[in-house]
Amino acid sequence: MSGAPLLSVENLSGGYGEIVVVNGFSLDLAGGEVACVTGRNGVGKSTLVRLVTGSLKPSSGRVVFRGRDLTAAPAHGRARQGMGYAPQEGVVFDNLTVAENLTLHHKDRSLERYGDLFTAFPRLSERLTQRAGTLSGGEKKILSFCRALAEDTVLVILDEPTEGVQPENIALMAEAIRRGKETGRAFLIVEQNLSLVEAVADAAYLLDHGECVYSTTERDGLRARLSERLQL
């Protein structure tokens, strides 16, 4: 991969009202790369994700995606540019069916773009006509994960994708992420589950108090180093 990165986050800051939650965060992400952001609860990880997806307006800094400055672009515009997003909470539309959840943002309403994922998570394809509100917490997370990984996304943003998910499905998620990398997609993953981080990360960032306090691209002993720094 050469040339400009797919996603460039430059000195991004933002928060809620007067409170700054994320302070000057930067990262570059090329196609086929996985960046993981980790840190304790309440350090600003989800806020960072919301600043990148456009759900929240940054107070300063830039978000450049596929060579375009999207800092001022609304969330739906970024999604249409190819950002797939699975949030930490409120992950699916409970009142819609599973199929509607997967297709409502596509004009053709075709489910074909999820072919591989249905093979990996057969439970989902069995429940297409069911209301998403009837799924368990882990199943909702998987549904949201799959929506973010639809074939037409080029950058997949996942906020704590493994929360409440069974270990065997976490392994399948890691597998799906690796396959996604091979097709040239980039991943930005916020995760506290270090085993997933260890399994997929090309770069890891440790967030504390809204600032990046440690970053590494060295994969050897990644988990031990992160784990050590997560302690006080």
């Binding site: 007067e18 304790r40 309440g42 509100g133 006080l232």
Partner: protein
């Protein structure tokens, strides 16, 4: 303060001198607008202060008017007229209080439903006034109401009205300055938090509504002799609507603004209605602009001028110890039991037969993966979630389906994960409310003395957390860490016997986390209170406590010392894959 008193006196003098500066007809007109202004002041108390909008205030105005009108028509002398006027105030006040108590007791928050109910009541009143011919005179109204005995309606009644306005303004100003008024702001800002300090907020709101109803009744009682006729319009929807517009345009956060709004729009309407056809369209535009851009109305444009008239009270900050908390088996061993507690939200079971007991003081930690039901356990204990099955008991009494203020009154203090404070109030006002928790009597709500209360705990917390000493700072401008510390301090200032802390170190820096841990450990040792702490960080857990409860999928998975927990195979399995 002295200057403010001078300004207020000047304003009162100006009002009293008005008939001599102008002509008596204009003064007569002004009298009517001042009466409307009084009603608008009551709306300002409810809406600007406490955050709920009464939309049918004319109902109380009209009831007062009909009652006073009937008394005047009966031709009784002053000896009976004075009690009749008192009734004309009290009946609307009681009605408003009753409506408020009934509605607010069922619905927390200040949603639109209360407003719609008051609106419907006002329409109901209008329809009744229209159809009860024998009592109200029906559609044509109650006519031929004589003036007050010995008072000329077109000359001297004006001074009576100004007198009544001064009295009601002083009364409302005192109510707003007293702890009651500060609590109303707290209701507006964060009603739920106030309940966790043991305040029954529905009654605070009902009391504010009752006061506004009484003031409206008084204005109505003077309206009857002023106009000589009371028609159903006096209770109806249209007058109610206009009253709210006057309040909004004049400024709903003070007491002068609403009167200014009523007088200004009243006079402009009288002058322009016939010459400028689009006059009311213009008023509507101004109203929309106020809603969109200028929530403080005209009063918000001249805050410095208005501050002259509503100076801060001289508060004796000398430091008086409040009366001690009532004896309730203080600091005796806790006795908290969860018996097969089940909680469900829709089809999902959040808690699934949660069973545990805590029978000794000290610090107990609850850990467990996200979604295990830790926060829900605290929610059901404090009446924030309904209990579906099982029972919870605290010191032998059941807390099943309790309410937050009852849990607080039985000695349970709670701090949420996201700091929950009163952002528009200053740091010291936040602290005052916490010191008042479980201590303030109904009488003391209207006395200035509680502002001077201080406790040993407050002194200690100020030493630990220097940000608490910046009392004049608005709490909304604090950083996340400072908010956490303020919220934590407020929880402890109520001196609960059982302290529930939900991730007290979330969002804190390493240094702040260290301070917080130290504070928790020291205060737990000093006060002999019982702490239950939800915590993710095992390091924090290890430093604070040797008793750990592990929750998983809505039930207790393990329970014991840190070493026991570490060795437990179930816990290992649940935490497999994660570092924590």
């Amino acid at each position: 303060m002295a200057f403010s008193r001078a300004a207020s006196l000047a304003l009162a003098a100006l009002l009293l001198a008005f008939p001599f500066l102008s002509d008596s007809f204009t003064a007569y007109q002004l009298g009517l607008y001042l009466l409307y202004g009084m009603v608008a002041q009551g709306i300002a108390l409810c809406w600007g202060r406490a955050g709920f909008l009464p939309l049918g205030q004319a109902l109380f105005f009209g009831i007062g008017a009909y009652l006073a009108g009937a008394a005047l028509k009966a031709g009784v002398g002053w000896a009976l007229l004075v009690p009749a006027f008192a009734v004309a105030c009290l009946v609307p006040a009681l009605l408003a209080g009753l409506v408020g108590a009934l509605v607010f007791n069922r619905q927390i928050g200040s949603g639109p439903y209360f407003s719609l109910i008051t609106l419907a009541l006002s329409m109901l009143g209008f329809q009744l006034a229209n159809s009860l011919n024998g009592v109200t005179g029906g559609f044509n109204g109650m006519t031929g109401i004589p003036g007050l005995p010995g008072i000329d309606t077109y000359e001297t009644l004006y001074f009576v009205i100004v007198g009544a306005l001064i009295v009601s303004t002083l009364l409302l100003a005192h109510v707003m300055r007293a702890p009651f008024g500060q609590l109303l702001i707290a209701v507006r800002e964060n009603e739920e938090r106030l309940q966790f300090f043991g305040f029954r907020t529905s009654m605070l709101k009902a009391a504010a509504f009752a006061i506004s109803g009484g003031v409206a009744g008084l204005a109505g009682a003077l309206y009857a002799p002023h106009q000589g006729i009371v028609t159903p319009q006096a209770v109806g929807f249209l007058l109610s609507a206009e009253l709210v517009i006057w309040t909004a345009v004049g400024g709903r956060f003070g007491l002068i603004g609403p009167v200014v709004g009523a007088v200004l729009i009243g006079f402009m309407a009288a002058g322009l209605r016939d010459t400028f056809r689009y006059w009311e369209v213009a008023v509507a535009l101004v109203f929309i602009a106020v809603v969109l851009r200028l929530p403080g109305g005209i009063g918000g444009l001249f805050p410095s001028v208005l501050r002259l008239f509503a100076g801060e009270a001289e508060l004796g900050k000398s430091g008086i110890a409040p009366h001690p908390l009532a004896e309730r088996g203080h600091r005796s061993a806790p006795d908290l039991r969860f018996d097969a507690v089940g909680v469900s939200m829709g089809p999902v079971n959040i808690l699934n037969g949660l069973d545990f007991a805590i029978s000794r003081t000290g610090i107990h930690c609850i850990i467990g993966p996200n979604g295990a039901g830790k926060t829900s356990a605290l929610n059901v204990l404090t009446g924030r979630l309904p209990l579906a099955t099982g029972d919870i008991s605290w010191r032998g009494a059941s807390l099943a389906n309790t309410r937050p203020y009852i849990a607080a009154r039985s000695g349970i203090g709670r701090k949420f994960q996201v700091p929950s404070i009163f952002p528009e109030l200053t740091v010291s006002q936040n602290i005052e409310i916490a010191v008042w928790a479980n201590r303030l009597s109904a009488r003391e709500m209207f006395s200035m003395q509680p502002y001077a209360w201080t406790t040993e705990m407050l002194t200690e917390l100020r030493q630990r957390f220097p940000s608490l000493t910046e009392g004049e700072k608005s709490a909304g401008s604090l950083s996340v860490g400072q908010r956490q510390m303020l919220d934590f301090s407020m929880t402890l200032l109520a001196e609960p016997d059982l302290v529930l802390l939900d991730e007290p170190c979330a969002g804190l820096s390493a240094e702040e986390t260290r301070q917080m841990i130290e504070a928790i450990a020291a205060i737990a040792a000093e006060t002999q209170a019982t702490f239950i702490i939800i915590e993710h960080d095992m390091q924090v857990v290890e430093r604070l406590s040797d008793h750990v409860l592990v929750m998983h999928q809505g039930a207790l998975l393990a329970n014991g010392t840190m070493t026991e927990i570490r060795a437990n195979p179930d816990v290992k399995r649940v935490y497999a894959g994660g570092t924590k």
